[in-house]
């Protein structure tokens, strides 16, 4: 099963490499990883998505908790949560394809953020499967030149927070 794990991390040099290193060292898989400082500049927030059975994911959270720089860990997929990912995608777009792409974009609530006579650059935000669906629906219509995805960020629904 796919899990979204959120980590509150000391914003120290080397802290990120400990997390990444743990995953490769223990043979855990990383689907995506995002990290950035929080409103408290001494802390970073990291989101990692991984695929594994319950036992593996239990070990992942325990091992993450063991890292000295890790302040808190939560498996967001255990509760109600929201996940978002940002994608920028550059497409070859000319002739009547331009209108077609524009329409698909609107359906997915994407924005065209850069235009040249031959290309569109589209920005799309949503859960990862929505981004996948967008790419799939472009499939036979446009040719994709470049895809940049931010990786997943997540947050719990309701009043639950991950903080000190």
């Amino acid at each position: 099963m796919r899990h979204i794990i959120s980590v509150l991390l000391e914003n120290e040099p080397g802290a990120l490499s400990r997390v990444v290193g743990l995953f490769s060292q223990r043979n855990y898989n990383i689907e995506s990883l995002t990290v950035a400082p929080t409103e408290d500049e001494t802390l970073s927030r990291l989101t990692v998505t991984t695929i594994g059975d319950d036992r593996v994911v239990e070990q992942i959270t325990k091992q993450l908790n063991k890292l000295i720089d890790v302040v808190k860990v939560v498996d967001l997929s255990e509760g109600e949560h929201i996940e978002r990912e940002l994608m920028m995608i550059k497409l070859k777009a000319n002739g009547q394809m331009r209108a077609e792409i524009k329409r698909t974009c609107d359906i997915f609530r994407g924005q065209i953020i850069d235009v040249t006579p031959n290309t569109y650059t589209v920005q799309l935000v949503g859960a990862s499967d929505k981004l996948d669906a967008f790419i799939a629906s472009l499939g036979n219509m446009a040719s994709i030149m470049e895809v940049v995805r931010s990786g997943v960020s997540g947050i719990a629904r309701g009043e639950k927070v991950l903080s000190l």
Binding site: P13, Q25, E58
Partner: protein
């Protein structure tokens, strides 16, 4: 500042080797007497000495090595300590901070290299951080599940002409690290209920009881309940080895009775043990009828390889104490009748195959006899520091440890070359104790240069080299699994060890006959102020038994070259 912080931490000995990046620190060492430095002949030995000090005392040992090759030479020792959860602080020199990343002379990324084998590591960014960082290093190394901590110090952080405010903190708190101090009382209560109902219980304990200083509590608890106890390789001495309730070691080379009892148990109480693959054999066949209570200070050890029915996260000492109290208060008693028939069964297993080996079929001395003699000559009371191989297993099986922290060996990493430096680290700190290094002609050659350090610091350890003229453990596997194709497991061109140790200024003895063994060994231990190297010729064809059958259950064992369960 580095030396002062070590002094304020109460460190008496550090083990190390100098180099460019550490010259300021070595100069500071020269100008004081509180912290004494032991100069080894290879950095790996420095880490093993520090590690063995920790295994014998529970307190973190300290190693000091220079940047680049000094640091990489220390990596094996750091990994050895890490795998066995041993507290240690390793200070590594580093090139000047402005040179980091430029492939400077003797630069290696020690934070990166050590990361997978440390509990934590630090790099000093500002000289004034040195005292607090060293304090943190000791705190992290020694608390919770212990482990090695590396502190990497760029040379310019120790420049003696610069002065900085120095304050050594009395205590440290880290918001992201809070080791647990007691177990969940509801879980403990539940566990005690199960224990009092058990009909075929086994207590299985490991290194966590030794390093967690819980052997007294364990002994009291096991005797209160009259339950059998088995120890992992790392847990030997946690319960007195000569006591009737002790089943000896379990696992791959565990005793017949320990492995049989585990397999047939209805309840297993695991304390400070991590269900290692050398213990469980195939996990899907592990202890099919048992429910499992697992006490460990590290939640990640619980349900990692074998699922626990009742997990208890906490220090062994505190949890066992709480269990003792609950048993005392409880109106229920252990089921005496059930226990009696369980003991009858165990004693029968013990009778059938317990602790026996064959001496009849050859003239050659058996390695087991040497260990039994060592046990006899030292009254089971010596520090026994072992290398890795068959001799290690024989020592574990036939030396009866009645006290904790006396059996010092590398279990998790299995580092050949550990034994001699370990014995040195112990002897230095326990000058009046008998300290034996049990080794093989293979392992001893991995750190034999330390005989020179022994001379310099007068470390009269007794080295028992069980010389089977081969990498015995490897050869055993080749015999059993590769139709005796002895690929690279012979040691031709062995040195004359007697002459070799004499050239280092020590005493050498060669023993070929069992009849000479006792006298020679007594003579060796009587030479209190001399290092004695006993080169003991043992049967080169001997195998270690029992040996679990690969991918089998706990009870599936080879008992000799021809018998199987």
């Amino acid at each position: 500042m580095v030396v002062r912080a070590l002094r304020d931490e109460g460190v008496k000995y550090i083990y190390g080797y100098p180099g460019g990046a550490l010259l300021h620190v070595y100069d500071a060492l020269f100008q004081q007497e509180d912290v004494q430095h032991i100069l080894v002949r290879h950095e790996q030995a420095a880490t093993h000495m520090a590690d063995a000090y920790a295994r014998a005392t529970g307190k973190a040992g300290v190693a000091l090595v220079t940047s680049g090759p000094g640091a990489t030479n220390a990596v094996t020792g750091i990994a050895t300590a890490f795998m066995d959860s041993i507290p240690m602080v390793v200070i590594t020199g580093q090139v000047m901070s402005h040179l980091i990343g430029e492939d400077a002379f003797q630069e290696t990324d020690m934070l990166g290299i050590s990361r997978p084998v440390v509990k934590h590591n630090f790099s000093i960014q500002r000289p004034e951080d040195i005292p607090a960082t060293i304090k943190k290093a000791f705190y992290i190394a020694q608390s919770g599940r212990p482990g090695p901590v590396v502190v990497d110090i760029p040379k310019d952080m120790t420049t003696p002409t610069e002065r900085y405010p120095y304050e050594y903190p009395k205590s440290i708190k880290l918001r992201s690290y809070n080791p647990i101090s007691r177990g969940h009382s509801g879980q403990i209560r539940k566990a005690v209920d199960m224990l009092l109902q058990a009909r075929r219980p086994v207590i299985y304990t490991g290194g966590g009881v030794i390093m967690g200083d819980a052997s007294k509590e364990l002994t009291e608890f096991a005797q209160l309940l009259n339950f059998p106890v088995t120890n992992t390789l790392m847990g030997l001495g946690g319960y007195p080895g000569t006591d009737r309730q002790c089943l000896g070691m379990l696992g791959m080379h565990g005793s017949y009775e320990a492995n049989m009892a585990m397999h047939h148990a209805d309840l297993i109480l695991a304390i400070g043990a991590r269900f290692d693959d050398r213990v469980t054999n195939a996990t899907d066949k592990f202890c099919p009828t048992a429910r499992i209570i697992h006490v460990d200070i590290d939640p990640a050890s619980i349900s990692k390889t074998v699922r626990a029915d009742v997990p208890i996260v906490g220090p062994a000492k505190v949890v066992i104490d709480e269990m003792i109290e609950l048993v005392r208060e409880s109106k229920k008693q252990p089921d005496a009748a059930a226990l009696e028939s369980w003991w009858k069964q165990i004693d029968e297993w013990r009778q059938r195959h317990g602790g026996r080996y064959r001496t009849d079929d050859s003239e050659l001395m058996k390695p087991q006899q040497v260990i039994e003699m060592l046990s006899k000559v030292t009254h089971g009371d010596a520090f026994v520091c072992s290398d890795v191989g068959q001799h290690q297993m024989f020592a574990a099986q036939y030396y009866k440890f009645n006290k904790p922290n006396r059996w010092i060996n590398s279990g998790g990493l299995g580092t050949m070359g550990f034994g001699l430096p370990a014995a040195m680290g112990v002897k230095l700190n326990f000058p009046d104790a008998d300290v034996a290094c049990v080794t093989g002609e293979g392992s001893i050659q991995m750190n034999i240069q330390e005989l020179s350090t022994c001379k310099q610091y007068d470390l009269p350890v007794k080295i028992l080299c069980l010389n089977n003229q081969s990498l015995g453990m490897v050869r055993q596997w080749q015999d059993m699994n590769y139709e005796s194709r002895h690929s690279q497991s012979y040691m031709k061109s062995l040195p004359d060890f007697v002459k070799l140790v004499e050239s280092y200024g020590h005493v050498g003895m060669k023993v070929d006959k069992y009849g000479d063994l006792e006298g020679a060994m007594r003579e060796a231990f009587a030479m209190k102020d001399r290092l004695v190297f006993m080169d003991i010729a043992v049967d080169p064809f001997e195998h270690v038994y029992p040996m679990q059958v690969p991918r089998g259950a706990m009870r599936d064992m080879w008992l000799s070259k021809t018998e199987r369960t």
